[in-house]
Symmetry: C2
Subunit: 82 residues, 2 copies
């Protein structure tokens, strides 16, 4: 079910997801999280539009209902090292 939802997520052109992947960390600090989705937006307004978009809301409700836990973090990246 999760695998299917992940596939359907990435078929939705609206969604801004740029990269996805499964956790492979050797540090054992992943706290049970297994999948990662990374998106990039031009602005915080862009994030807000995305979050509020009906297609996102519909997908998020379905996706979240099938997840054991979820963590969402947004940040404005400060470049430390290129």
């Amino acid at each position: 079910m999760i695998a299917e939802l992940i596939r359907s997520c990435c078929g939705l052109e609206l969604l801004a997801v740029k990269y996805k992947g499964k956790n492979v960390s050797i540090e054992n600090l992943h706290q049970g999280f297994t999948h990662i989705f990374e998106s990039t937006f031009e602005s915080t307004e862009g994030v807000a539009e995305y979050v509020a978009h009906p297609a996102h809301v519909e997908y998020a409700n379905l996706f979240l209902a099938n997840l054991e836990k979820v963590l969402v973090i947004d940040y404005k990246p400060t470049t430390v090292r290129v």
Copy 2:
């Protein structure tokens, strides 16, 4: 103390941290996490070298001791959308 540790982290040339930032998500799904560090490596071997490096171990021990909680996830990014 955390702010100081974050500054010192980014002064360490060894560290592979590329971007840093504070959580600004409006979704309230950040589970109390406040800061993000993002690094990119050429290979999983590169991650393992970094994790095992004495300077990383020393810094990580100091840093982790001052954090309420931490989450580390590594993933090989599959491009979903460019």
